[in-house]
């Protein structure tokens, strides 16, 4: 009796395994080719493995430029973006991901990646910045830049070794720090001024800003303003890195 029950149970189990074999949880999923980089899924995977470390998860709140910024993506010329991803930016910490490096990515992949990025993050499409992404004028007035800086930037970006920052909130830190300016390109300065760091609270060129007294001012920066500001900030590359005695913060 017992053995008959046992046999029927066993037969049932075997039959169940036979029938359900295709639906068991251990069955490996069929191998599929990785999604193309020009789709949002393919783009997200590639971005997470190679870009998120510096540009932040989801394209914002990283130490490097936020890429989830429709205005930035619409304004930067396609070829410039391609060159940056492929070859990096010399003199800065943006590495090139294409070319002949060991983990190199083909040019087609980079183009698909850019399409995927714009599909994912350029929304709505076609919203360009008033000030062009690139360019810059060699005869921009440094004095004009200095004046502009004092009236439009210095409230959040005061100078002098950081001591003046202590009571200010929100504050953006010293952008005239010679060490900082030496580490970034003019284009980086220009991009930061035009597009801001809205994820960290820094306004873009068209956004309202805090005036010299902390008051809210709604007056967009023009192309000449941006050129002048970049020219002014670039002068700090040559500045001495020795602060005047007694000017440092107490730590």
């Amino acid at each position: 009796m017992f053995s008959r029950t046992l046999s029927s149970i066993l037969a049932g189990v075997v039959a169940w395994i036979g029938v359900a074999c295709d639906r068991l949880p251990g069955k490996p999923a069929p191998r599929v080719d990785p999604p193309s980089l020009d789709t949002s899924v393919g783009f997200a995977g590639f971005y997470a493995s190679r870009c998120a470390g510096c540009h932040g998860a989801g394209g914002t709140h990283g130490p490097a430029r936020p890429l989830c910024d429709g205005e930035y993506l619409a304004s930067i010329p396609e070829d410039a973006l391609f060159q940056i991803v492929r070859n990096g930016i010399a003199g800065t910490r943006m590495p090139g991901f294409g070319g002949s490096t060991v983990t190199g990515v083909s040019d087609e992949h980079i183009r698909a990646f850019i399409i995927g990025m714009k599909r994912s993050w350029m929304n709505p499409p076609g919203l360009k910045s008033v000030v062009p992404w690139g360019g810059g004028s060699s005869d921009a007035s440094i004095e004009r830049g200095a004046t502009l800086f004092e009236s439009r930037c210095a409230f959040c970006h005061p100078s002098a070794g950081g001591q003046a920052l202590l009571a200010v909130s929100p504050q953006g830190g010293d952008v005239r720090d010679p060490f900082y300016v030496r580490l970034v390109s003019d284009q980086h300065l220009r991009t930061s001024i035009i597009f801001g760091r809205r994820d960290l609270g820094m306004p873009a060129a068209i956004d309202p800003y805090q005036g010299a007294g902390g008051e809210r001012v709604a007056e967009a920066l023009t192309t000449e303003d941006v050129d002048a500001l970049v020219a002014y900030l670039a002068t700090f590359r040559q500045a001495s890195t020795l602060s005047p005695p007694g000017n440092g913060p107490t730590r």
Partner: protein
């Protein structure tokens, strides 16, 4: 009438076979020999090990019909078995998991035999054959891992070859024999295939025969009892007498327990195989992918951890001398302790030894899973700097965060609990090191950290230190609802974060 005729003819055949081979005597003796009646559930593990081996042989034969042992096709053929062969994935799962189960059962069997002192007189040879079977089983498991021919197999072979290469005098030649050339290639796979499919299973079957024969010849031991001492002068006679008087036939009395346990183990095996599926194949082998973190299967994780943690100066010696000496010691145990008490309660040293080894292997396996000594090679591009370490930072500190990623500090140092574990977590480094100490540590290295003085410019170092000096652990503050609001106000964030001290004192 016809039925009787068939029966008669069949019996004549059996008699003919028995006359020529003696098979009936062998069967009768092995099935109905008397075993001690005290041998109960503790004695099932050896049978279960053998059962798993038989499962391996059966599933392995079918797998070998589909597997292509060539470097170009091995991987594809595994995918083919997984996806195209009806229930092929299940077969691979059963083969892989029964390998683990066999190793596990073997280990339990070994520990049981050791703790019960069964290896003592007169079962020395049984023990030695068993130890050899254990080594073969590990060999089968390792070579089986190579059959997957994925990135893990590739790196496993690389590490194996590096170990062999360290052998003095013969190192080069042995590596050549192992790999079938100077590097891992199709010849390597062919060699490991023949080891896995012909040589090792053949040796295992032969040794298993000897193991079983010596069990039949000297009988299985009784359950140990405190006070019953093994004395070679009197043991054999006493054992035979006791078995004749109180013993029971192997079949059905003892075999029943074996069958019940093996049946249950088989059901569990099929369940695990159905639930967890086959092992691998993982990523394709690619020598140019330097991000791969080679890690062996669970069974070998403790060896992997031990190798990583050994002081480098002793590595070669311990790698080459340690395993042979350890195996020889275990194999010669019956000659080291041939007599005396068998009961674990009277052999505290043996129990302690098992406890220490089990704890050691457990801890090493756990460490092997974590492998905190390995840098996380892709952390610098794929592990984001969390928003709380970016907010309220000066532009220089933000550049420092970029340096932190770009210089691959993240691969060894975690912040916010994410990143490598090779170096200390830096989430609150600013509370431990001053600005100047940070500069010195980065430029000169020290304490297992390389010096970056020559690779980072002064501006880059300043930026990095500006960022590190903002890491004061605030992001780690304990959050107790309703209790900590006062401390977690924005003022508590590092104000003027990333600003450096007066340059005058640098």
């Amino acid at each position: 009438m016809g039925g009787t005729g068939w029966k008669h003819r069949a019996l004549r055949c059996v008699h003919w076979l028995d006359d020529r081979t003696g098979v009936l005597w062998v069967l009768r003796h092995s099935m109905f020999h008397r075993v001690p009646s005290s041998a109960k559930w503790w004695y099932v593990f050896g049978s279960a090990t053998m059962m798993f081996f038989m499962v391996q042989v059966a599933s392995g034969i079918v797998l070998a019909m589909f597997y292509a042992p060539s470097a170009a096709q091995a991987y594809e053929s595994l995918v083919y078995i997984n996806e195209r062969v009806p229930s092929g994935w299940m077969l691979r799962a059963i083969h892989g998991w029964s390998s683990n189960a066999m190793c596990l059962m073997m280990l339990v069997h070994l520990v049981q035999v050791f703790l019960h002192g069964t290896y003592k007189y007169p079962r020395e040879l049984t023990w030695i054959f068993g130890v050899c079977l254990g080594v073969l089983t590990l060999g089968l498991a390792f070579t089986g891992q190579i059959m997957r021919w994925d990135a893990d197999a590739y790196w496993g072979l690389g590490i194996g070859a590096a170990i062999v290469d360290r052998m003095p005098v013969f190192g080069d030649a042995l590596r050549g024999i192992m790999l079938g050339g100077t590097q891992i290639s199709g010849a390597t796979l062919s060699r490991f295939f023949s080891l896995h499919v012909f040589i090792l299973p053949g040796l295992t079957v032969a040794l298993l025969g000897l193991h079983l024969y010596s069990i039949l010849r000297k009988g299985i031991s009784e359950m140990p009892k405190a006070g019953e001492v093994v004395d070679p002068a009197t043991y054999a006679k006493g054992y035979e007498e006791r078995v004749r008087k109180t013993g029971v036939p192997f079949y059905p009395d003892a075999a029943r327990r074996d069958m019940v346990f093996c049946g249950a183990a088989l059901i569990v095996l099929v369940g695990i195989a159905a639930w967890y599926g086959p092992m691998g194949p993982g990523a394709l082998p690619d020598p140019t992918i330097i991000e791969a973190s080679p890690r062996p299967d669970g069974l070998f994780l403790w060896i992997f951890a031990a190798l990583a943690l050994l002081p480098p100066s002793s590595e070669t010696f311990l790698l080459l001398v340690g395993p042979p000496v350890a195996i020889a010691l275990v194999a010669l145990l019956p000659f080291i302790a041939p007599r005396g008490e068998r009961a674990p309660s009277r052999r505290p040293l043996s129990v302690l030894l098992v406890c220490v080894l089990a704890t050691g292997a457990g801890v090493l396996t756990w460490l092997g899973t974590l492998s905190p000594w390995s840098p996380v090679m892709d952390a610098w591009t794929s592990t984001p700097v969390a928003p709380e370490f970016v907010a309220n930072r000066s532009p220089l500190a933000l550049q420092g965060a970029l340096e932190f990623q770009f210089a691959q500090c993240r691969n060894c140092h975690a912040i916010g609990g994410r990143g490598g574990m090779r170096g200390p977590d830096l989430t609150d480094v600013a509370t431990r090191l001053s600005w100047d100490q940070l500069v010195r540590q980065i430029q000169q290295g020290g304490g297992n950290m390389p010096a970056y003085g020559k690779t980072l410019s002064s501006a880059e170092t300043q930026a990095l230190v500006a960022f590190l000096s903002t890491l004061d652990g605030n992001a780690l503050r304990a959050v107790i609802p309703g209790a900590m609001e006062a401390q977690s106000s924005p003022d508590a964030m590092p104000v003027a974060a990333g600003t450096r001290p007066s340059s005058g004192d640098r």
